[in-house]
């Protein structure tokens, strides 16, 4: 991760400016801005139907934007009066359903995007198939392979013409859970080795957090925040992003001089505005201590093995979530506790103006 961070001043591989796309009356993408530096992996993360696949298709040239521009490398491939057809964009794509050609064997599939000369040589197809570790099955037909193998063939096929950029649409969604985790690491290794810039679409947070150098969160047809996984999790810029990515506690409060007053006392603030605010902190930042006279009571405990989630009802009726790692430290349902926020909180402008209306959980 660190060497990537050092090379941050690299050239831009993909840039989208103000992309808009509607289907009839239904907006799919509204003003999406996106920039990916060469060699980096960007995850487009969002719930189903938020328009993330449309962004991918706009970059690939499978859809024409209503407004906005797409640049691949130095070339503007879509914009006012410009629409470079997909076959001339030098962009590779791995489809969700893989879209392997069922009438061609694995080798011919991998070679499909090559020039006639390269195809006759057979070297490049061989190369990419060995890159994904599937030389052995080159004479088989697509339906004779497992889902994971098909996925890697699709990847090899997309990489074969040496694209500058590769797009992956929900690349792991058709695989079972165990396979998904194994392939994730595998695909990451292959893409790094091929030294391509990658954009992939997913609705799986874990996948995005573990695989990407950068994540663009897309909600309701808009890209709401683009950041590194760490920053995105620790410093979400809005309530929406905070709830979408991971668990969060919200409380109304009043911010002044870098600190927030709320029902848990005065807390240091990592970032945010002054005045009436809504503060956010992650459940793992809420420390519970057993105390007969504490202001909260544990009302629910969910045990996951490596950690556990506890819900605490405060005497003010606010409910807070706390995630504890490791052993259970003797906390049980019905026990009274003291609470403490262990790290600086994030403050957002209060969404309702009136703090009392904030319903923080769920």
């Amino acid at each position: 991760m660190t060497d990537i961070d050092n090379n941050q001043k690299q050239r831009t591989a993909i840039e989208c400016v103000g992309l808009c796309k509607r289907y009839g009356d239904i907006p799919a993408v509204c003003g999406a801005d996106l920039s990916v530096s060469e060699g980096r992996f960007l995850a487009l993360l969002g719930p189903s139907g938020c328009g993330k696949t449309t962004v991918l298709r706009l970059i690939a040239g499978l859809e024409v934007p209503d407004r906005g521009e797409v640049r691949v490398g130095a070339q503007t491939v879509a914009g006012p009066g410009i629409n470079v057809p997909p076959e001339e964009r030098k962009v590779g794509m791995v489809f969700q359903e893989y879209a392997l050609f069922p009438h061609l064997n694995i080798e011919d599939n991998a070679a499909y995007g090559l020039s006639a000369y390269e195809r006759s040589q057979g070297k490049r197809a061989h190369e990419v198939l060995s890159l994904v570790g599937l030389e052995g099955v080159k004479d088989r037909m697509p339906h004779e392979l497992s889902g994971g193998q098909q996925q890697r063939v699709a990847l090899a096929r997309a990489l074969a013409p040496r694209p500058d950029v590769i797009l992956l649409d929900e690349p792991f969604s058709n695989l079972d859970a165990g396979m998904r985790v194994r392939l994730r690491a595998e695909v990451r290794r292959i893409l790094r080795k091929a030294q391509v810039t990658a954009v992939f679409v997913t609705h799986d947070q874990e996948e995005a957090l573990s695989l990407a150098d950068e994540i663009a969160v897309m909600i309701d047809n808009r890209i709401v925040q683009t950041d590194t996984p760490e920053r995105l999790y620790r410093r979400p810029e809005s309530h929406m992003v905070a709830t979408f990515l991971g668990d969060a506690n919200f409380l109304p409060g009043r911010a002044r001089n870098g600190a927030v007053e709320c029902e848990l006392g005065t807390l240091p603030m990592a970032q945010g505005t002054e005045g009436d605010v809504e503060i956010m902190f992650r459940p793992e930042d809420l420390v519970l201590t057993s105390d007969e006279k504490g202001p909260g009571v544990i009302i629910e405990r969910e045990y996951f093995g490596h950690d556990q989630l506890l819900r605490v009802r405060m005497d003010s009726n606010t409910i807070l979530k706390s995630r504890l790692v490791g052993c259970c430290r003797g906390l049980r349902e019905g026990e009274r506790v003291r609470v403490k926020v262990d790290s600086p909180v994030i403050a957002y402008p209060s969404p309702y103006g009136c703090p009392a209306e904030v319903s923080p959980l769920e």
Partner: protein, 579 residues
Amino acid sequence: MYRHAGFFFNDGMFIDRADELNFWSGKNRTDMAEPSGQHTMDRMVPPFKPGGARRPPLPLMILAAGIAAATLLPMAYLAIRALESGFGVFEIVFRPRTLSVFLNTAILAGTVTAGSVIIGVLIAWLTVRTDLPWRKFWATTTCLPLVLPSYVGAFALVGALGPTGMVQSLLQPLGVERLPSIYGFPGAWLALTLFTYPYVQLSVRGALRGLDPSLEDAARSLGRSAPRVFREITLPHLRPSIHAGALLVVLYTLSDFGAVSLLQFNSFTRAIYVQYTSALDRSAAAVLAMMLVMLTFVILMTEYRMRGRALYYRSSSGSRRPPTVVPLGKWRLPALIFVSLVSLMALGVPLTVIVYWLFRGLMAGEQFAPHAQIAFNSLIVSGQAAVAGVMAAFPIVILAVRHPGMVSRVCERCTYVAHSLPGIAVALALVFFGARYVPALYQSMAMLVFAYVILFLPLAVGSLRASMLQLSPRLEEAGRILGRSSGRVLWSVTFPLMRPGILMGLALVFLSCMKELPATLILGPTGFNTLATRIWGATEEAFFARAAAPALILVLVSAISLWIMFAHEEGSGSRGRFR
């Protein structure tokens, strides 16, 4: 001739709609909003929609619109030609002879439909829901008359019961001088009923088998008697299928030329032909054709308005028990006699007659060499029409499947218009159109091929469409992204994967052309004979032995085409590999 079978299977009533649903639900996407009908499909975002959001390329749109227009133009011209005679139109429409033709046609269509529905429903019910012995055997043999083109059926009837027919010549030594005449209404009614009831039977059979018996059980448990259950539950479920079958029978009867002309019953098609060949002024033929076209339209429109609800009237396909078997009791023997009689009349007699006259011909030294030339003619012209038809279908299908919308729907619908009209009207329209605007093509093979394409284009469109719907648009997109132009992707991905559909389309158009009679008769170059026109001509002149061999060949051809249709219908659900 039985090209309405194509209408049955391809007009989006059964296969197409089902394929569409399979296609969408088969994608198995977790984020799929809701089961998509035609309407929601148009508004959906790209993951659920095969690239339809992009405006279709202009050349494709022009090509498809041109083809659609070409199928409609001659029909439009028929109207112009009919109206050209000015007030003469009224004179023709309202003359008593026209009225009698109209009544003849209406009575024939009504009685044939009634007869077909009764026979068809009865046989379907007997073979699906009762303990009739050898049910499977009867279910098959009673469907087989579908392979007989109506003129072959009429040939069989005349060859058996006509004044110089088989029965007469067998009875002659016994002193029977004359059988009651087969010509006119009784013969036409018998022939058409015997060869159209399978449409009703097949359609009702499907519905009966799809009917969930637990519905009937539920009604029984709620206190209804068996006859009331049949009336209140079973019959409403069968109504759409009876309706669909009856529509096919009506359209078949209206457009049939072979049987009514050979059996000398003066309905529209025969009157049109007589007017066309005998009268100097062809206005009368044009006006009659126009009236027939309008009659067909009225029926189609009525059906279309009634169809809406009926289409989704099918019961769910969950796992269910086999249907309850109704014991026939003392009705077993009458039922058995009934199905045997129908099978005998509709299948046994025609086959016997064909074989009988084949042998008579052989013994009389009938020459078979001319048949080879005629079969070759049929082969060549049908082959050309098949290739042309599939080529013309492609732009329409690509537009309809990959760019769904108003334009593509209109184009696709247009191709069905000529198909649902009587062949003789289409042929006549082409004659007038050709004589006026392209005299060079008049009486040429090209004109005949064009007529075949217009008549049978929907068969090609239907097969190509079904196979293209099974093809994920992602495959074509993958091809584009891998650097090939849309034309090359079409060639290297789409066409190879659509091969089964292409072959099927070729076969269906080819086989339908082989059997086509009225257009061939009217548009064929002078002296040009096909198997169909040979059977017709020889039967009309009572040279039964000369018609036997071509009839046998055509029955085989029809059998193959029927088999292909059924094989396709059954296979259409199970080709998941290409999805």
